[in-house]
C-alpha cells in the first residue's frame, strides 16, 4: 500500500502551518495502523510479564540456600534434556525475549516520535488532571529499564562488571554483589525495581485496554487493580533478595 504524499501542513518542523487539505486516504490496512503498533507493544509486554514472574520465582530460591539456588540455575540449562540440547530452553527463551524487546522498543519509539509530531506547537500552560505518575513515567521509565537490563546482563550474565569478584556459583555472585560494601549496587537495583513497578502498573492496565479487554467500568477497575497487584508482587519479590542480603538475613 502506498501513502499519498502528506499535505505540508501536517509535516513536523514546518514553521508555517496551513489549513488542513481534504485528502481521504484509500486502502488503509489494520496492520499498518498506530493500533497495530500498540498491539505489538501489548503482546510483547505480556511476554515480559510472564518472564519476570518466573525470574522472580527463581530469585526467591536464594532463601533456600546455595545448593538449591545453584541447582535451580543449572537445571535451567539442562531443562528438557535429552529432548533439548544443553541450554536449549534457555536460549529459546533468550531469543524470544530479544525479539520481544526489539518489537516493544520499536513500537514505543515509533509512537513516541509520532506523539511529538502530533503537537509541534506546545501549550504555554498545561494541566494534567487524570494521568497517574506511572503513566507519565512510561517512556523515560522504559528507557531506564532498557539501560538497567543491559547493565544487569553485564553484571550477572557476562560478569563484565563484577564488584564481588568472578565466581562460578550464581549464588555467590548474588550474595557478594549485594554485600553492604557495594551498597550502590543495591541502590541501583532497588531504583530499577521502582521503575519496573511503575512500568507494570500502567503497562498491565494499558495492555488490557489495547487488547480490547476493558469494555466496561468493572473490567477497567479490574485491569487497574491487576496492574497494581503485579507491580507490587513482582517488584516487591525481586527487591526482597538484595534487601535480605543487605540486612544479613542471607549470607
Amino acid at each position: 500500500m502506498s501513502h499519498p504524499p502528506r499535505p505540508s501542513g501536517f509535516r513536523s518542523g514546518d514553521t508555517v502551518a496551513c489549513v488542513a487539505t481534504p485528502t481521504l486516504i484509500k486502502g488503509s490496512r489494520s496492520t499498518r495502523s498506530t493500533i497495530a503498533l500498540k498491539l505489538l507493544m501489548a503482546v510483547t509486554g505480556l511476554v515480559f510479564i510472564g518472564y519476570v514472574l518466573l525470574h522472580m520465582y527463581g530469585n526467591l530460591k536464594v532463601f533456600a540456600g546455595q545448593e538449591a539456588f545453584d541447582e535451580y540455575a543449572h537445571h535451567l540449562r539442562t531443562f528438557g534434556e535429552p529432548m533439548l540440547p544443553y541450554g536449549g530452553l534457555l536460549w529459546t527463551v533468550r531469543v524470544v525475549l530479544l525479539l520481544s524487546i526489539v518489537g516493544h522498543a520499536y513500537a514505543a519509539f515509533a509512537l513516541w516520535a509520532r506523539a511529538g509530531r502530533a503537537r509541534t506547537q506546545k501549550y504555554v500552560v498545561r494541566k494534567a488532571v487524570a494521568s497517574t505518575l506511572s503513566s507519565k513515567m512510561m517512556r523515560w521509565g522504559g528507557v531506564a529499564l532498557l539501560l538497567f537490563v543491559i547493565f544487569h546482563l553485564l553484571h550477572f550474565t557476562t560478569q563484565t562488571v563484577h564488584p564481588g569478584g568472578v565466581t562460578e556459583s550464581p549464588y555467590e555472585r548474588v550474595v557478594n554483589s549485594f554485600a553492604p560494601e557495594y551498597w550502590y549496587l543495591t541502590v541501583i537495583y532497588l531504583l530499577a525495581m521502582v521503575a519496573l513497578a511503575m512500568h507494570l502498573r500502567h503497562g498491565v492496565w494499558s495492555a488490557s485496554q489495547t487488547l480490547g479487554l476493558t469494555n466496561s467500568a468493572a473490567s477497567r477497575t479490574r485491569a487497574n487493580l491487576a496492574g497494581v497487584f503485579l507491580a507490587v508482587v513482582i517488584a516487591g519479590g525481586f527487591a526482597l533478595v538484595p534487601l535480605s542480603i543487605l540486612l544479613g538475613l542471607v549470607d
Binding site: 488503509s28 495502523s33 500498540k38 509530531r117 501549550y123 500552560v125 494541566k127
Partner: protein, 262 residues
C-alpha cells in the same frame, strides 16, 4: 475597583478584574504569540464566551482587532466553542466553554487562553482551529449505508436495551475535539472510539463494521494524530463524559478486523 473605559456603562463598579493571556495569530501562515489583556467589570454570572464578547467590545472601542474564537449554539450541544483555558480543555469544569461561567474564577485571576493544539487541528486565526480532520475521519466510515425511503417499522430490527443504552451514551459525542486537545499524544482515539462503539452496538452497524474501523483509524493516522497511551486525560476533559472503554472497543474492533484480514 472601578470599571475602565471601553465596557458598557452598566457593567460598572464591582465586577471581577482579570488578566487574560490569549494566543493571537493573524492567519494560518503567520506565527502567533501570547498577548496580555486587562479586563474589568466582569460579572460572575457571565459565561466565559460572554466575557470574551466584553473583551472584544473593549478591543473594538480601542480600534483593535477583536479576538477570533469559535462559538455557535452557546447551550453546550454543538461543540464549536473549544478553548484551552489555564491548560485544561474547556476550562476547569466538565462542560463546554459556553457553559463555563466566570463564577468559577476569582477576582484578580490570570487566565491563559489557547487554541486546541494539534497539528491535525491547524490554527485558522487566534483561537479558531480547523477541525475538518474529524469530518474526514467520519467520512471514512462513521455512518451506516442504508437504502433511503419511508421509515421502516420501528420493531422490525430489535436492539437489546443494554446495547441501545451504550450506543446512545456514546452517540452524545459532539466532536468538539477536547479529547485531542487534552491528550499528551494528540490522539483522537476517544472521538473514534465513540463512533465505533455507537455504530458497533447497533444491528445496522454490523455490515460495515470491519471496514469502518480500519478506514477510520487509517484516516486518523494519516491526519497526523498521535497514538493512544491509555492515560485518560481525554475522558476527564470530555464535556459529554464519554468513558474510556470506547477506546478498548475501538482496539477490539481493529483486532477483530485484523483477524478477518482487513
Amino acid at each position: 475597583m472601578t470599571a475602565t473605559a471601553g465596557t458598557e456603562s452598566d457593567t460598572t463598579s464591582d465586577g471581577m478584574k482579570l488578566t487574560l493571556k490569549i494566543w493571537r495569530q493573524a492567519n494560518p501562515e503567520t506565527p502567533g504569540a501570547m498577548h496580555t489583556f486587562h479586563l474589568e467589570g466582569v460579572s460572575p454570572d457571565m459565561s466565559f464566551l460572554e466575557m470574551l464578547d466584553v473583551l472584544n467590545e473593549q478591543l473594538n472601542a480601542e480600534g483593535e482587532e477583536p479576538i477570533a474564537f469559535d462559538s455557535d449554539c452557546r447551550e453546550g450541544i454543538c461543540g464549536m466553542c473549544g478553548l484551552m483555558i489555564n491548560g485544561q480543555a474547556h476550562g476547569p469544569e466538565v462542560t463546554t466553554t459556553c457553559q463555563l461561567h466566570m463564577r468559577t474564577f476569582s477576582d484578580g485571576d490570570e487566565i491563559t487562553i489557547e487554541p486546541w493544539r494539534a497539528d491535525a487541528f491547524p490554527v485558522l486565526k487566534d483561537l479558531c482551529v480547523d477541525r475538518s480532520s474529524f469530518d474526514r475521519i467520519i467520512q471514512q466510515g462513521g455512518y451506516v449505508s442504508v437504502n433511503t425511503g419511508s421509515a421502516p417499522e420501528a420493531h422490525s430490527i430489535q436492539v437489546p436495551k443494554d446495547a441501545a443504552d451504550r450506543a446512545f451514551d456514546v452517540a452524545t459525542c459532539i466532536g468538539c475535539g477536547a479529547c485531542v486537545a487534552a491528550c499528551p499524544n494528540g490522539s483522537a482515539s476517544l472521538f473514534m472510539g465513540a463512533k465505533i462503539t455507537h455504530l458497533g452496538e447497533l444491528p445496522q452497524g454490523q455490515a460495515e463494521r470491519d471496514a469502518r474501523v480500519v478506514n477510520m483509524v487509517g484516516q486518523h493516522d494519516h491526519e497526523g494524530f498521535g497514538g493512544c497511551t491509555n492515560i485518560g486525560e481525554c475522558t476527564a476533559a470530555c464535556p459529554k463524559e464519554i468513558p474510556l472503554d470506547v477506546i478498548s472497543q475501538l482496539n477490539k474492533d481493529l483486532r477483530t478486523a485484523m483477524r478477518h484480514g482487513h
